[in-house]
Structures are given as structure tokens and as C-alpha cells.
Homo-oligomer: 206 residues x 2
């Protein structure tokens, strides 16, 4: 007979293993870490999960998670409501906003298009985006939508689909993507060929 | 008394230590490696250095090292002679050309401006570049110069200086820089803030 874990411990490990970045092994280690320390720790995690589930809703405007109807970013009067940046995730939004370069609002898709994972336009929230853009055109003089996906195959495919959908609904709206090109601080000699080609094709006035 | 290396061995180590990437220790290791193997190896290195010194000249047009008056790239009839790309070094030229995105010719500066290392406009070859551009305007309908330096403080400073000099001599010539922005294959979430800011400022039509 080999050691068998109790069912509830297995459930905990399985639940932790579903977190991105935790494989079966590290989920097991995390589970024992939680159990070993003290009961209070497990209770806090449980309460935090329950509280999050109860209190957090989707922001009516950008779809981030927040406790009110509208998140603090969308409610911020100092932001330019005529500019909308479409991102794939909250971490992407946080990174872009930390750059201090975007003065407008955001819309957060539920990830990227992925036929492999059965995530189509509806699943990533394209219908909500169209509704949000139509509202923006009606109420906020929306004048530009930046589709801020990465220059990866999935990011390109998602951008393509989103841009086509926007062009169909709002042909006069300016729709852009982030610049592709040389990243800051990297020497040309050590840059990959695809990035160099993009930087040449999109060369610009200084 | 400690072990002393003979003078000629020390000269060899010193010569090798001046190669980029070789510190004193690794130069010493390289020296013994050359000596240990066989005399032919040392002779070959010596001959190769002498041969390079004798045969290689600067290309009259782009200033790369080549055996004739004009290098194969500048002599290539299929390249668009109306486009000139200014790079800091031959490795930069090789990287850009390998991307297959640049259909024109090149001009190779001798590195970047560096007040710390006493490398000013004259040292990096600005006078030669101006002469090359004026020749291009006269003889090849030169229509665009891309200043292909990196988005680093030194690359920016060099680009600024070169662009100012070109604008002064040829105000109607189109002068551009490489695009700055998101590199290929990198997720937004993991991109540095300065690159993200550049990608937002230079966002473009898809």
C-alpha cells in the first residue's frame, strides 16, 4: 500500500494546481505550506476567496474586477474619454498604465482568441466591446481605439479580428495598434530579425 | 621569486586582452591555448592578422572593410540606391540586412558619439557621411536616409546629432529612424515601461 492523501487534501491541491504557474508538484508544496503553518492561514485564504467571489463584479464600462458598478479608472474625470485602449488582461492594462503614456480609458478582453482552447470572439468579449464602442461614439465623442495586443501570432490574430469587427461597425473611427519596433535599451546587433524587419518597415520621422 | 612570463608571451597576452570579450585571465588562457596546440596555429593567426592588415581597405562608399575599392553590397545592382541606412557598426549592418527588410545601401559609422571616450562627430565619420549623402543626392537620386541607431541613451544622442547635421545640409531629404515599439514575440505584461510608452506614443494604423 502506498501513502494516499485524504480527499479534502487532494481537493486543495487540485484547486491550487489550477492557478497559473503552479504545477502538480508545486501545488502540493503550496498545500503543505498552507497546512503546516497554522490554521489561521488556511482560514484567511478561504475567507479571501469567498469575499472576492461575493464582492467583486465586472466594471460596467471596462470589465475589470471592482467592488462598485464602475471602477476607479473609468470613473476618473481626468482621463480622456475619447480614447479607448483594448487590452487582453488586467496585467496588460496595469503594465501599459504604469508607463504613464496612455491618457485614455481601457477595455479588457477575456484573453485572446484561441481556437485551440475554444475561445472565440464571443468568449473574449467582442460583443461587449462593440457595445462599449457604440456607447463611446454616442456619449463621449470616442475618436480612437488602440488595440493593444502583443506582436505574437495570437496577439496578431486577436488584433486582426477586433480591428475588422470595429471597422465594420464604425468605419470612420480611428483604429490603431501599438507601435512595433526596437525596444528601449536593446542594441541592434542583439535584436531578433523579425523585430528588426518591423522596425525598418515602420521607420518614422524622428 | 615568483614565476615570470617571458616578454613575448606577455605581449601576446596583452594583444589578446585588447580583443573585446577577453579579459586578462581569458587572454592568458587563449595565449596558452594557442601555444600549447601547435606552432602552426600561432603562425596562422599571425598570417591572418598580417593579411587582413595588408589586403583590407575601407569601401569607398559605405566604409565597411573589403578587399576592393567598393564592397559587394554597394556594388549590388539590385539594391535601391535611393535609400541609405546609417548604422554604427558592421555587426549592426549584418543584423539589419539579415532581416531582409532593407532594400537599400548602407553607411557605416565608426561607432557612436561618446564624449567619455573622446569620440566626437569627426571620429565617428560624420564628415564622410555628409560627403556620401551629397554624392547620393547628386548621382543616385537619394530620397531617404534611415538613421538606424538603437533606442539607448548613446544611440539617441548619435541619432540626434546625425539627423541635425543631415537636416542642415539637405533640408529636403527625408530622414527617418527605425520604429521603436514592442518587439516581436514579447508579451505586453513583461515589457519594460519605457518600451511600452514608446509603443503607445508611436501607435500606428494597422
Amino acid at each position: 500500500m502506498t501513502v494516499r492523501l485524504s480527499a479534502s487534501l487532494e481537493h486543495l491541491i487540485e484547486a491550487l494546481a489550477e492557478l497559473p504557474g503552479l504545477g502538480p508538484k508545486s501545488a502540493q508544496r503550496a498545500a503543505f505550506h498552507l497546512l503546516d503553518k497554522d490554521a489561521a492561514r488556511l482560514a484567511r485564504l478561504s475567507e479571501a476567496v469567498t469575499e472576492a467571489k461575493t464582492k467583486l463584479k465586472r466594471c460596467r464600462s471596462c470589465r475589470t474586477y471592482c467592488e462598485g458598478d464602475v471602477c476607479p479608472v473609468c470613473a476618473d474625470e481626468r482621463r480622456d474619454r475619447g480614447l479607448l485602449c483594448v487590452v487582453e488582461s488586467v496585467p496588460d492594462q496595469m503594465a501599459l498604465d504604469a508607463s504613464l503614456a496612455w491618457p485614455g480609458l481601457y477595455f479588457i478582453l477575456s484573453g485572446r482568441l484561441s481556437p485551440m482552447e475554444d475561445r472565440g470572439p464571443e468568449e473574449v468579449g467582442l460583443t461587449d466591446l462593440i457595445a462599449r464602442v457604440e456607447e463611446g461614439l454616442r456619449e463621449d465623442n470616442l475618436r480612437e481605439v488602440v488595440v493593444a495586443t502583443s506582436y505574437t501570432p495570437e496577439g496578431d490574430a486577436t488584433a486582426y479580428y477586433v480591428i475588422e469587427a470595429l471597422k465594420k461597425r464604425a468605419p470612420d473611427l480611428r483604429v490603431t495598434r501599438l507601435a512595433r519596433g526596437l525596444p528601449s535599451g536593446i542594441e541592434i546587433e542583439y535584436t531578433d530579425l523579425s523585430t528588426l524587419a518591423g522596425a525598418v518597415y515602420d521607420r518614422r520621422e524622428p
